[in-house]
């Protein structure tokens, strides 16, 4: 990682497919900043279960699309915020109870959502689907 990157190295929960946590303060972050990685942004509440974050990131990593973790905003919904901030226009919000939504920056409603306590396999597929939106592949969660 180059000097001046807003990335703080590999996060323990993100794995090698994850750019890690973006820790530059919100005020100085700029979408035009070339050091902002193209990634599916994952915005998790501070109390979100680490296992949920892990499965979501793993799902995207298996699809070969990088993820990055972003601190939650002071207020507002996590998923739409993540999607808006992502250079790939796709973001995942993980609530304190482990409920997950996948958003696209241009689509008001959540593309996909899972309630708290969803099985790990479903979370993995959801993460994969966030990546598949970027890749332009059909979503697996909605497969008949």
């Amino acid at each position: 990682m180059t000097r001046g990157s807003p990335l703080s190295g590999v996060s323990a929960s993100g794995g090698p497919g994850c750019h890690g946590r973006i820790d530059r303060p919100l005020s100085t972050r700029d979408l035009a900043d070339p050091t902002m990685p193209p990634a599916v942004l994952v915005v998790a509440h501070h109390d979100a279960p680490p296992a949920v974050v892990r499965e979501v990131c793993a799902g995207a990593e298996e699809q070969g699309v990088p993820t990055a973790l972003l601190d939650p905003p002071r207020d507002g919904r996590l998923g739409p915020f993540a999607a808006r901030e992502s250079r790939l226009e796709v973001g995942v919000g993980i609530a304190a109870d482990g409920a997950v939504t996948v958003h696209h920056a241009l689509v008001p409603d959540a593309i996909l959502a899972l309630d708290a306590g969803a099985p790990a396999a479903d979370l993995r597929v959801l993460g994969a689907d966030a990546a598949r939106i970027v890749a332009g592949l059909p979503l697996r969660s909605l497969r008949r």
Partner: protein, 619 residues
């Protein structure tokens, strides 16, 4: 002045045309369309006919008691049947190979070693070259940890085979990149302690070593005789992005031809047996040799035999004729490919197998139209007349299409059969029915795409395709892009869809738009184009298509977005003018018979010297 309604009972639809007739002047008021109830030419048709009449009355705004005469066509039952036999199968013995394309295999390259289970990795001697086999439920972090520990002990793990979908995750966490094939659903069947090779190609490429006979020979150190034996393995793997081959003592891959019985054809004073597994060309060639076909029997206990018996039984039920008197007069055989699960496969591998689809048709001269006429007369309380044979009426109805002239031929492309009729300059009409039409097209699309969903297949047949490229735009099959202001639903995202009047419907296939389109067009070509030429050749003067003047396309399939163009293209080399019927310049390809019945009744039927039409009063 009298209010007259012509009712055409077809194989799948019943059409009505209501008109006011005043001294040879026909004033058409309205037409209607409904589904035919029961088999054409049987008393069950009455319900549909009544519906069609009531609807036409409603549209024209006339009271039911104003109706003077109902005209019916002389319709003879045509019953068709469809069957499909898969004639090849691929069998893998002793779990010799895995040839499937997981979406995301891990690493790349070729790894050759002895298969060992993940649990057994700790007991492997350092310096040994192994291929690790990972069972169900293993977590990617644990797998990576165990593999890295094995590397550190000096065990040469060169490749992996996994149950779950996490090859990329595991490989990303390894000290060394090794090829890993994942999503192997029956991984527990991979034989352990055997020499195995795993190959994963780079993205966008296909494997080169395991899909090549000499590549396998070099990998497994085979002699010439052994190489000959494994060459089917190589062929079965070609085109894959990843593969696993395990060398077992008697492992083999075979391509077997399945004996599926014979067809017993009789015609022109002789009989001929042809094996269904010979394929469509052999069957059609045999049918040509005994033409005109007088009857066909299938071997009992086969799909085809069952289908032919079923067609015969249905006709017996419909007409009351004994089965022994019912003759199958036409058969259309079409070669097709069916995706089938490979027997002995470990990852649910699917192989395209050859199959033959057969459509058969039986027709009888014994019609029960009089019973329909009687029932209609009672129901509607008015005179009901059986006024004209359908081929004759249809061709005269078609002749009201602007720009047509005699000799004129029609092709009525229906659901079960394709019908052709010719009206020559002397006013004589000849007609023929051949097996195979819309239903067969649907069946071919269904099986070739592996949909197992008749409605989805029907949708693919009827509507153009598009690919959803983002949440806001689709690309139609001709390349044009259409934008939407509201986001498209996630379940169609990135899917191949059919563009229907009700919106976009996802086609449940993995393949590309181009492959779905090819299947759809080929199915239509092999049924409708082949049948149009086959049927026209039977009615054309001296069997020569060049002597036909105009060919008018009628029936539901004439409304299809591409079939008329395909048939017209096929007829163009014969100098034939071919187009979609437009009855009376307003009705389109529908209603030729219904409108024709009214014209015949009023004495205004188009064409040379209309033959005296028999009229039978029903009430």
């Amino acid at each position: 002045m009298s209010l007259v309604i012509g009712v055409d009972i077809g194989n799948s639809t019943t059409e009505a045309c209501i008109a006011e007739v005043t001294q040879g002047e026909v004033g058409r008021l309205a037409s209607s369309l409904t589904a035919t109830t029961g088999v054409k030419g049987t008393p069950e048709n009455t319900t549909g006919a009544v519906t069609a009449v009531r609807r036409a009355l409603e549209v024209s705004g006339r009271p039911a008691d104003a109706l003077a005469t109902v005209l019916l066509n002389e319709a003879t039952p045509v019953i068709s049947g469809l069957a499909m036999e898969t004639i090849t199968e691929t069998i893998i013995t002793e779990s010799t190979m895995i040839g499937h394309n997981p979406d995301t295999p891990g690493g790349e390259g070729l790894g050759v070693g002895t298969t060992v289970a993940l649990d057994g990795l700790d007991e492997v001697e350092p310096g040994t070259t192994v291929v690790v086999v990972v069972g169900k439920g293993a977590d990617f972090d644990d797998v990576a940890h165990l593999l890295n520990r094995a590397f550190e002990r000096g065990v040469d793990v060169v490749a992996g085979v996994m149950h779950g979908d996490d090859a990329v995750l595991v490989v990303n966490r390894l000290q060394r990149r090794i090829p890993v094939v994942d999503e192997v659903s029956a991984v527990e069947k991979v034989p352990l302690d055997m020499l195995a090779a795993v190959e994963v190609a780079a993205p966008g490429r296909t494997i080169r070593t395991l899909s090549d006979s000499y590549g396998l020979a070099s990998t497994f150190d085979l002699d010439a005789e052994q190489t000959r034996k494994v060459s089917p393995v190589a062929r079965a793997l070609s085109g894959n992005r990843s593969a696993v081959v395990v060398r077992t003592p008697a492992g083999d891959v075979t391509d077997r031809r399945i004996p599926v019985g014979t067809l017993h054809l009789s015609g022109s004073g002789r009989t001929l047996d042809v094996g269904v597994d010979g394929g469509a060309d052999a069957i059609m060639e045999a049918i040509g040799r005994v033409a005109p076909l007088s009857d066909v029997h299938g071997e009992a206990g086969t799909h085809v035999g069952g289908m032919l018996a079923n067609v015969r039984d249905t006709m017996t039920d419909v007409t009351g004729q004994p089965a022994s008197e019912i003759r199958i007069r036409d058969v259309l055989a079409v070669d097709t490919m069916v995706p089938a699960t490979v027997r002995g496969g470990l990852a649910g591998e699917v192989h395209q197998e050859n199959a033959v689809a057969l459509a058969a048709m039986v027709r009888t001269s014994r019609s029960r139209m009089q019973a329909v006429a009687d029932a209609l007369a009672t129901e509607l309380g008015c005179e009901t007349i059986i006024g004209g044979v359908e081929g004759e009426v249809a061709v005269r109805g078609a002749l009201t299409t602007p720009g047509t002239s005699v000799p004129i031929a029609i092709i009525d492309m229906g659901g079960g059969s394709t019908d052709a009729a010719l009206l020559d300059r002397d006013g004589a009409v000849s007609a023929v029915h051949v097996a195979g039409a819309g239903e067969l097209v649907t069946k071919l699309i269904d099986s070739e795409l592996g949909l197992e969903d008749r409605e989805a297949a029907e949708s693919v047949k009827r509507h153009p395709l598009a690919k959803v490229e983002s949440f806001f735009h689709i690309r139609h099959e001709d390349g044009t892009v259409q934008f939407f202001t509201e986001p498209l639903p996630p379940h169609v995202f990135a899917k191949v869809v059919t563009v229907t009047p009700e919106g976009l419907a996802a086609v449940p296939v993995k393949g590309s738009l181009e492959s779905v389109r090819r299947v759809r067009r080929e199915a239509k070509r092999r049924v409708f184009v082949v049948n149009a030429l086959r049927a026209l050749a039977q009615v054309a003067p001296q069997g020569s298509l060049r002597l036909l003047g105009s060919v008018v396309l009628l029936g539901g399939s004439a409304l299809d977005f591409e079939i008329p163009g395909m048939v017209a293209d096929a007829l163009a080399p014969y100098g034939v003018v071919c187009g979609i019927g437009n009855v009376h310049g307003t009705e389109g390809p529908r209603n030729a018979v219904a409108a024709g019945l009214v014209d015949v009744h009023a004495g205004t039927a188009a064409g040379p010297a209309p033959e005296k039409v028999q009229r039978q009063a029903a009430s």
